[in-house]
């Protein structure tokens, strides 16, 4: 019986000149695709805003776009092509989005998973982590960044700013518990927050974080506190953007110094899981309780965001201010479910068999993100999640999941 193995007999150096030629031929392909994608983004978000259903009637169009993008990426991202060839997959036999081979996030650490020529690479995002681990790299050009920004704004708005354009619209003070983009140019999260603040930030935008080594940052507690106290005093609602870790750190600071604030109604938080591998796990219900008690923000205005360096799209577990008017943390949590935009689909597969799991069974998340135009659309994450209706719920990874010594893996 033939065993499955992955190995190369000899390493063929990719013909760079050939590759550059191929890329030039494909650049029009990429541009054409990007235009189609942006059109799809516009229409599908409009549909979502009116019906609140993310995946409504976009099936065929998504599939067409995915198959098209796979073809372009197969031709232009040589590392990805090699990955697909090993699995015997190519544009000739991939006819549906879920047949597209997914690359593990590890591939972004080891290789340049990009179709962007070195001369065009103006931005690179690194995943966070300690120096022992080689970080993931996601390259961008001025063109690809624009697509990325368009995608992130299109999904951010209906989740964090659903009132825009209605009579419920208000002006907010924006507080990010991160450094500003110019001081953390390699963080995709900070770039996202900067983009969002530039687009929606009205009266005032504040960054209350300082950069520190290894793409992490330190919270400026006083600056954050004073900003919140000021907002409470002048009755301006606040939109706080942060990692879960720093959110809890701030609230613990408020608690310790007895400086709880009652922020005006409609204030909201967007928190993201933040650093992978950070040792401290914060139960979501504790975070929600603390936000209610120390900031005066109700659970229905605390939105979780799921994203990563390797992806361009993000998932949110709530539309701010929606859900039953519940102050009950447990109830709020039970209703939530992370949803990606219509241009990013998920597959959840058993870590044991690699086959799709059934509802309620935990599995590893795969994301097929059309907004990853110039890199690789299909990404295999290391996150264990549980499928729910049209999305997923995140599971807190048990501490014993990775055996000791895995830090030796990276060089």
């Amino acid at each position: 019986m033939e065993l499955f193995s992955v190995r190369v007999v000899a390493v063929n150096q990719p013909d760079l000149e050939q590759q550059v030629k191929q890329n030039r031929m494909n650049s029009t392909g990429f541009e054409a695709f990007s235009e189609q994608l942006c059109d799809f983004i516009l229409r599908s978000t409009a549909s979502f805003c009116s019906s609140q259903r993310a995946q409504a009637d976009t099936g065929d169009e998504f599939n067409d776009l995915a198959v098209k993008l796979f073809e372009i990426q197969y031709q232009s991202v040589s590392a990805y092509r090699r990955w697909c060839d090993i699995r015997g997959k190519n544009p000739g036999n991939v006819k549906a989005w879920d047949q597209v081979p997914a690359v593990p996030t590890a591939a972004f650490k080891e290789l340049d998973m990009t179709a962007i020529e070195p001369a065009q690479r103006t931005t690179v995002f690194y995943s966070s982590g300690t120096t022992m681990h080689r970080p993931s790299k996601h390259w961008h050009s001025p063109v690809s960044i624009k697509t990325y920004e368009r995608s992130l704004l299109a999904w951010f708005r209906p989740h964090m700013m659903p009132e825009i354009g209605s009579d419920q619209d208000a002006s907010y003070l924006w507080l990010a518990l991160t450094p500003p983009p110019n001081l953390a140019p390699h963080s995709s999260l900070v770039h996202m927050l900067g983009t969002v603040m530039a687009e929606f930030g009205g009266k005032e935008t504040v960054f209350a974080g300082q950069p520190a080594p290894d793409n992490i940052w330190l919270l400026d507690h006083e600056k954050a506190c004073k900003t919140l106290e000021r907002a409470a005093m002048v009755n301006t609602p606040v939109c706080i953007l942060t990692t879960a870790f720093h959110c809890v750190e701030l609230m613990e600071y408020l608690d310790k110094h007895k400086r709880a604030v009652r922020l005006p109604p409609k204030s909201r938080i967007m928190e993201t899981g933040g650093y992978k591998g950070r040792s401290r796990q914060i139960p979501k219900k504790d975070l929600l309780s603390m936000a209610r008690d120390l900031l005066g923000i109700e659970p229905s205005y605390c939105v979780s965001e799921y994203g990563m360096t390797e992806l361009s799209s993000q998932a949110y577990d709530l539309v701010a201010g929606s859900g039953n008017d519940t102050t009950d943390v447990e109830q709020s949590l039970a209703q939530r479910c992370f949803r990606f935009p219509p241009w990013a689909r998920i597959r959840i597969v058993s870590p044991e068999t690699g086959r799709p799991v059934t509802i309620g069974e935990p599995g590893l998340l795969q994301v097929y993100d059309l907004a990853n135009v110039y890199s690789v659309m299909a990404v295999q994450t290391e996150d264990l999640v549980v499928p729910k209706e049209d999305g997923f719920q995140y599971i807190n990874r048990s501490p014993g999941a990775e055996q000791r010594g895995c830090s030796l893996m990276a060089k």
């Binding site: 499955f4 190995r7 000899a10 090699r82 870590p351 086959r355 599995g363 048990s398 999941a401």
Partner: protein, 459 residues
Amino acid sequence: MNLPDYFLADLPSSTELSSTLITEACLTLKRNRERYLVQRSTASLIGAIAAVAADWLNPENPFRRTALEKGPAATGFSRETLETGLDTLFKTITPESLQLLVLQDLGHVDRLERLTGSEIEPGSSRLAIAKGPELLVHITAGRLPNPPIMSIVLGLLARAAQFVKCASGTSFLLRLFGHSLREVEPKLGACLEIAEWKGGNEALENALFAQADCITAMGEDSTLAAIRPRVPPQVRFLGYGHRVSFGYVAREVLDYHLFAKTVAAAAHDVAAWDQLGCLSPHLFYVETGGRYSPDNFAEQLATELDRLERVQPRGQLSPEAASAITARRSFYEVRAAFSTDTKIWMSQESTSWTVVYENDPQFQFSCLNRFVYVKPVQNIEQALRGADTVRGRVATVGLAAPSTKEHDLAHRLAVWGAARVCPLGRMQSPPPTWRHDGRPSLGDLVVWTDWERCERSFL
């Protein structure tokens, strides 16, 4: 079979244990030891223990049958893995091997009963007698039954009352063993207690430690570090921390005659207890320059593990453990696709087994559950340089080498600090005389009284 409620671990899991209950249990154990254990001869204890072990090899034995029928659900190991593992363990426990143990550690087979001399001090000038603890407490860790069962055997030989506190979820096999002992020798069973609770329960553990005069503890270094300060100063503490093992294969055995057998032995060591013991190999260092190359070895190992999967399947894993394997596989799959220095073989549609060939002697911890590395080396020196990060923490090196080379290799490994060297294929089957982490396991349990006799005089 349904086990009667006898040990604390037999009680329903909802039962609340209290520190009073623990103290009472310890006092009862000590009383029973006085009544039933202290005056037993070593020979009769050896006989009793060996009889229990021999019984376990009998397919009709109801305890063995229960272990194999209910074991997979209770332990996560497959029936075949349990069968192989338990048979291997109990086969090593014989009257001869136990006598050898007493002789080795204590110098005389009657040492625990009366003042005796020994070969080097033949009965004239100096006699000695050894005494085991009154109450010996064992804190166990991990899912393998071997360490706690051997601990109980050693404690019985030392005539100690024993309280075994096992990690939560691991009492099933231990309880069966305890009951099988009680069945044959109820009075010995009365000197043993088995309880299960999540480590760190200070109330229960402090009550336990207060009654003990000797404590053995196994587990992560951090666990031991947490226990040590809470042990009263007069109590002897024997800690067995985190250890790893690996294999070493000399080029001479990579020839036409021995290749397949060597690889089969290596695969056996990986599959035993699903690689979860401290004696299980994380990796094999394989010398280059043989008829077969290290990557031939890796490929053949993959074939063997695939064959073994059919006859001795790997157990069921939690999603977290399976994800750990999948994540690691992904990492090496990426590397393998772009470099000749890495190759990977994997079971399909499962995480049952994985072999990673990595051209780098740097020691790698495996994520276990039958995930093993093969690393080419030129010689033992290169291997030991690569393993420098785990020096001082190596429990066993499984060695496959010709008779012309094995002595030198074993000596080199001993000087380097490996606590045990054994043939490949026997890593998970140490004899009772095994010096656990290089210490005399029975010897460390006892205290001695020496009697220096007068020379014959005219007085």
